[in-house]
């Protein structure tokens, strides 16, 4: 019984994935059409506001998948994944800042406004090159990847695991948060990077640009899903899960656990970076707040709510929580935290495997299949 090629396997066995990808494919084309082609006063018109919002959710969903890859499958609970997201975002933000050119408030051709403002005289070296799109895009992947590589190399080699690993990832993002808050670092301090004008020559405020960004977010999300699905259904995926469940055992049958962890961690960081890069032009700001440890914790919550180790579940969780947030902050601005907190509680108590887990459970029940009680000890 040889294993099937990836695409056959996907079509045959990945029911949830198929639904997930189809929904994305549909929205990917329908939403832009409804925005651009349907007149604004029509009932079917999708306002740009919604398009951008969806785009934001999708980039969050991508981030959630990235985390699910390392946490759900490899058992590395990273409480610092927002850092990679933010770094990708900053790389994109820097490109966008450079595109402003002399359209800043001070009309300085060389320096971004915040540098003029703090009497910087020349562009720091690490800003060089960011006026080129390709360079910035490489950085979007490279910077988070490198950070993950160095950090992961140190941590995995030293066999830091469990909560210890979680907490130092948190320390990492916290340190970056503080560092980026420092104005001297040259990333705009607390105000971050804002007031972007255009991307690749297209006006960021034009509907077409926004729609394209949304389209790209959906596209990248699908690609990410395929990539991750390919990985986890490969033998490497099984090794990774083996590491999660019995790390030592995996070593004793001859796998270099550190390398596997590092590989998956770096890949995940890169995906997070891309998600960040898609996020920034759509929300129009990147500031150190994105490094906040609480963001990373929330991210873990998205994944848990959707359902760990399911990929699309993570994406679903991201959308559910963020949509609830969008909705609740407008509908119940004064008490919405009760609702959100309550949601988290309910999900944990009544849906231990997340929304997708509940769905699967119901399906299994219908099919009357036997399922193991054994604890899924992920840590």
């Amino acid at each position: 019984m040889a294993r099937q090629p990836f695409i056959v396997d996907f079509l045959k066995n990945d029911k949830g994935g198929k639904i997930f990808v189809s929904i994305l494919l549909v929205t990917m084309f329908v939403v832009p059409a409804l925005n651009l082609l349907v007149p604004a006063d029509s009932f079917f018109h999708v306002p740009t506001y919604t398009v951008t919002l969806l785009g934001k959710y999708l980039s969050y969903a991508m981030l959630a998948i990235a985390l699910d890859l390392v946490w759900g499958y490899c058992g590395i609970l990273s409480l610092g994944h927002a850092a990679f997201f933010a770094l990708g975002g900053y790389a994109m933000g820097m490109y966008l800042m450079r595109q402003i050119g002399d359209r800043g408030v001070y009309g300085n051709t060389e320096l971004p406004d915040f540098m003029v403002f703090l009497n910087w005289t020349e562009l720091p070296w690490y800003w060089q090159g960011f006026d080129m799109f390709w360079f910035a895009m490489i950085m979007v992947i490279l910077v988070p990847g490198l950070l993950a590589l160095v950090f992961g190399w140190l941590a995995f080699r030293a066999r830091v695991t469990g909560v210890y690993l979680s907490i130092i990832t948190q320390a990492l993002t916290y340190a970056l948060l503080l560092a980026f808050f420092m104005n001297e670092l040259g990333f705009g301090g607390n105000n971050g990077l804002t007031d972007f004008k255009d991307i690749l020559g297209y006006d960021l405020q034009a509907d077409t640009t926004r729609v394209s960004l949304f389209f790209l977010s959906a596209l990248f999300l699908i690609l990410t899903y395929f990539l991750c699905r390919f990985i986890i259904t490969s033998k490497l995926g099984r090794v990774v899960v083996a590491i999660r469940d019995a790390e030592d055992r995996t070593r004793f049958i001859g796998y270099k656990v550190e390398s596997f962890k590092l590989w998956i961690f770096v890949l995940s960081a890169m995906i997070a970076g891309v998600a960040g890069a898609l996020f920034v032009p759509q929300v129009g700001i990147i500031n150190p707040g994105e490094f906040s440890p609480l963001n990373s914790i929330e991210l873990v919550v998205w994944v848990a709510i959707g359902g760990r180790a399911t990929l699309y579940g993570a994406a679903l969780g991201a959308v559910i929580v963020n949509y609830s947030k969008s909705y609740l902050t407008a509908a119940f601005p004064e008490v919405w935290l009760f609702a959100l907190g309550g949601l988290f509680l309910l999900v944990t108590i009544f849906m231990p495997k997340g929304v997708i887990g509940l769905w699967n459970q119901m399906r299994l029940k219908l099919q009357g299949k036997k399922q193991p009680i054994a604890e899924n000890k992920i840590e």
Partner: protein, 231 residues
């Protein structure tokens, strides 16, 4: 003293114990046998209250205990030595023994000398972490720990697994001693026939979650062995 009636147990959807009924009278020493995976451990855990049961009843000394929590059953006098020993790894040997004492309100008192008489190793290792002991030492600790509760019945799940021969003998002797001198009822899960024959007075054989044969140890025929204990 312990009577199990029509016990059914499920792991999720999978039906593991099927209408198991066993009667254990005061002072008996019953050996529970069966192939791997027939449900011996499951039965013991159900008696101890560590697994929820679907139907059936468990009575202990006349009271129904099937609805009671494990800790209550322990205090009523059911001692349990689990398969795999389950020592409190970070607690010292002494603390492992004190856990049992603490629930009976005697936690300030000294650990009964009797335990050290039975297992002199434990005395030497009193301040070593339980988790650091070798497998055999842990097994001894597990039995000792169960004894701190002053149990009326002792459930032993493969207590000789991984134990050196002379201690296996000792454990056999101890079980007999506990049973005969201190009148503790014994329910022993055992794979090794010689040991089972030596220690047990009665036997129960399980197969695929069912109680398929029982009787006095002398009645354990080769045929039964052939039928239920051979692969």
């Amino acid at each position: 003293m312990l009577s199990i009636k029509e016990l059914n147990q499920f792991y999720g959807e999978s039906h593991t114990l099927w209408d198991v009924s066993v009667d254990i009278s005061q002072g008996s020493c019953i050996c529970l046998m069966g192939r791997n995976g027939v449900g011996k451990t499951t039965l013991l855990q159900s008696i101890m209250g560590l697994l929820p049961i679907k139907s059936g009843s468990i009575e202990f000394n006349g009271t129904t205990i099937s609805g009671k929590a494990a800790e209550v059953r322990a205090k009523l006098g059911i001692g349990y030595v689990p398969q795999g020993r389950d020592i409190f790894g970070q607690l010292t040997v002494e603390e492992n023994l004190r856990v049992g004492l603490s629930v009976t309100g005697r936690h300030t008192r000294a650990i009964p000398e009797q335990i050290f008489e039975l297992f002199p190793v434990l005395k030497d290792m009193l301040h070593r972490r339980g988790g650091d002991l070798s497998g055999g030492q842990q097994q001894q600790l597990a039995i000792g720990r169960a004894l701190t509760l002053n149990p009326k019945i002792l459930l032993l799940d493969e207590p000789t697994e991984g134990i050196q021969p002379n201690i296996v003998q000792q454990i056999g002797d101890i079980i007999i001693k506990l049973n005969e001198e201190q009148n503790i009822t014994i329910l022993l899960v055992e794979q090794k026939l010689p040991f089972a024959r030596r220690v047990g007075k009665n036997f129960v054989i399980m197969d695929r979650g069912r109680n398929v044969a029982q009787g006095e140890m002398s009645d354990l025929s080769d045929k039964l062995v052939q039928q239920y204990l051979t692969v």
